[in-house]
Symmetry: C2
Subunit: 465 residues, 2 copies
């Protein structure tokens, strides 16, 4: 058995304990007095373990002095209290076994010099070996576990919404087609059109853009559910906020309304930030120096602040009266763009903001129509430093009003038959929202680009690895 | 605020407490003495809450007496100790608000009569309202949370492996193509072949069949990782064990070998079964009566048993000497089929069995070649009642041997360039396995068909909802 480095860092071991560590070389430094200091990491925490290798080791000259960044090792020895400031314990090696060398260290893509974040992206299979992407991986895991814990403790059931969907009614223009047809020999029907009856599912199929409608079916039976899975958008957007494949968390609650959903969103965001603050302080401290000095303060502020609630109409009035010149014009009926959202949350309120009750014409058919007949019970949650992080709504649970909205938008009632049945049989007010995991990780880590928050990002012209 | 029914069932409330419950009618029974008994469920646990509605309620005649299965209600009242045996507390209603009626109760697809499991499958959007699929949903959630907890407590990081992959080297024949090309107007290149350079990713892309290779990249940097996400198989298999879309759990551990992987698999399976036994006893008891009387005993046996470890060669000898006539012949070099696996685990050993070290010719290229040159360090975990539930291996971490295997199988080295780099730079022995979530849920619930263990199953000619 060997010991994870985080166990040593968390003071479960003391001076003189015999242990075995397995990991990779981060750096090696040789002193003139015939001893080498090797920083070894194993991914279990940010800080590497300092291994002290005396020249009395039988492979000191033949191997230890040849170790380079990335070599894999097994080190056995005893812990000793370090004289340095940062480290409480270092490992005095009694045996070092080199498990794997780095072939041609000069050309090793993860050599110890500082690489650009764009360069790391091109080496997505090796970048978890770096400090920054290692930190992102641990924080992403902490966030994901916190999300499952949060919902589980509140009695939510995790529900797998389908990834492949044959309903082309969610906006097929931005969807990826899923097919097993042979493109070199497409079967055609008598009209000369592609015969999808011969495709795997017997009809056109796509990758889902949201699990919400399916989650509603489960919420209308089991009360509190959430999805947590990949969703897809075939948008040709090369921005720092867009991925073709991204993970989404979508809670859905029966007998619930917009304000309860806003309160749930606030607790969720705070629970996530609190979890990272208490579990991954090491990685946050590193990232503070690397990308954003105010990172920890920003998360602590979010945890401690009361979210501001404001109606869309009042938000528009604030923006109109701001005296700012925005790139996109502000008027009642226009969707808020990123610059507007950031003004509200960063300049005006200096706090997270929930904007509620948007004009129905800029929102989706399934959102509950308010009594004014003009707005729907939709919300966006905006946070300083990132803008919109959550979007949600109360759903229209009244069949007659839902049907009118579907027809008003030129959609076909029969395409929504199963969804409408949820309103036909024991309907209940219900509400939910969606949180994009990668944007959340980008926010918490301070990294500006979602491509660095998912291990193997998929974007236009890129599906490598 | 309202109270989840499970809170009442778990004795957090007592006689005389005033509460509000929100849920749906399971059944209604009227007594001659002018009182109605309404069983209400909200999905939070198996047992419904008995609501006692006296005829003194102002809507007793106009509404309460018209309630049918599936109607949604808000009931406020006080808890009283029940005279019945099964229920400790029932709710004496002081007010019943009908939130949603069931339109035309005679035609309600989830009417209280017993429906076939096949009929329920055709109503996947409503079936979570039934006892059986409600139980499955809660057990599936308990299993999923137990999996995340298990790995998290052991220091594993959850890693998102990509869903869309452009590597066509994992067996493209059974993969779904992902594309945004217009099938009616396919772009062709100068050779007259489909020009995938114009597709979204600039080349052919597919849905992943496994996250393993990607997980290996992360394990070779962070030591202990697991994936938990959807995977896809475009196999035209209409069996009770196959889905086109299913969820897979794939741990991958650096500095690890086959025996450690087998031990990890054993602990994982036991942790899952133990979690369901302690958290979902109510649903297991119901399912015992519904599908499999020995359900609970089977899970308890698994938790209490030591898994048998046996080499493939010895397993073949046992099968050859069994005196059984198998449909598929048994000989050294043949893959074990379901009947062989079930004989070993159910008849011969009467315990879970780990079969190890299979002939290399029936296993994948990435598995570690054993010193005999004939077998690889692969394992299958077999459990009584289901057969193979886990498959895994130690991975080939030696570049020269991996390269020889790739070439031996007629594959191209350059297609595996990034994967081979993991062996070129600080390679380590590593191992992992895959657990299919739906098969696990089928095993734990006793349901014979994986289509009933995922909310919206995708199979040949079916991607509804």
């Amino acid at each position: 058995m060997h010991t994870a480095i985080k166990e040593i860092k968390s003071h479960r071991y003391g001076d003189g304990d015999a242990i075995v560590v397995k990991g990779w070389v981060r750096t090696r430094r040789d002193s003139k007095s015939g001893v080498s200091f090797i920083n070894v990491y194993d991914g279990s925490c940010f800080e590497p373990l300092q291994v002290v290798a005396p020249d009395s080791l039988n492979n000191y000259g033949t191997e230890v002095l040849k170790l380079t960044t990335g070599c894999s090792l097994i080190v056995s020895g005893r812990l000793v209290e370090s004289h340095g400031k940062q480290q409480a314990l270092e490992l005095r090696a009694e045996q070092i076994t080199v498990v794997g060398w780095v072939e041609d260290p000069e050309s090793y893509p993860m050599s110890p010099k500082r690489h650009s974040i764009e360069y790391l992206r091109e080496h997505a299979h090796l970048r978890p070996r770096t400090n920054v992407i290692g930190s992102v991986a641990r924080i992403r895991n902490a966030i994901s576990q916190a999300i499952h814990r949060f919902f589980s403790e509140q009695g939510f059931l995790w529900v797998a919404s389908p990834i492949i969907t044959a309903s082309d009614c969610e906006g097929a223009g931005e969807m990826f087609r899923v097919s097993t047809l042979d493109l070199q020999q497409l079967p055609l029907d008598e009209k000369g059109e592609v015969d999808f009856d011969q495709d795997f599912f017997g009809k056109e199929a796509f990758l889902t853009v949201s699990g919400q409608l399916n989650a509603e079916a489960y919420a209308c039976a089991l009360s509190k559910v959430y999805t947590f899975g990949p969703t897809f958008r075939a948008e040709n957007s090369n921005t720092s906020r867009h991925l073709a494949e991204f993970w989404m968390v979508e809670p859905e609650v029966a007998f619930s309304d917009l304000d309860e959903s806003a309160a749930l969103a606030e607790s969720l965001l705070k629970a996530i930030c609190q979890a990272v603050l208490s579990e991954r302080r090491d990685d946050l401290q590193f990232l503070s120096g690397f990308v954003d000095a105010d990172l920890i303060g920003r998360l602590e502020t979010l945890v401690g602040s009361d979210f501001i609630h404001i109606n869309y109409s009042d938000a528009v009035a604030i923006l109109e009266q701001s005296g700012r010149e925005f790139e996109f014009p502000v008027f009642w009926g226009a969707d808020l763009s990123s610059e507007h959202e950031r003004y509200l949350t960063e300049q005006h309120f200096k706090a997270p903001v929930v904007v509620k009750n948007y004009p129905k014409d800029i929102k989706s058919f399934y959102m509950k129509l308010n009594d004014d007949g003009k707005t729907v019970a939709a919300m966006d949650v905006l946070a300083p430093g990132i803008g919109e992080i959550i979007g949600g709504s109360q759903r229209e649970h009244r069949l007659d009003i839902l049907d009118a909205r579907i027809q008003e938008l030129g959609m076909k009632l029969e395409d929504y038959d199963w969804y409408r049945q949820l309103r036909r049989y024991g309907t209940v007010p219900h509400a939910g929202f969606g949180l994009g995991l990668e944007r959340m990780v980008a926010y918490v880590t301070g990294l500006g680009n979602v491509r660095d928050t998912i291990p193997f990002p998929r974007t236009p012209r890129n599906a490598s690895f």
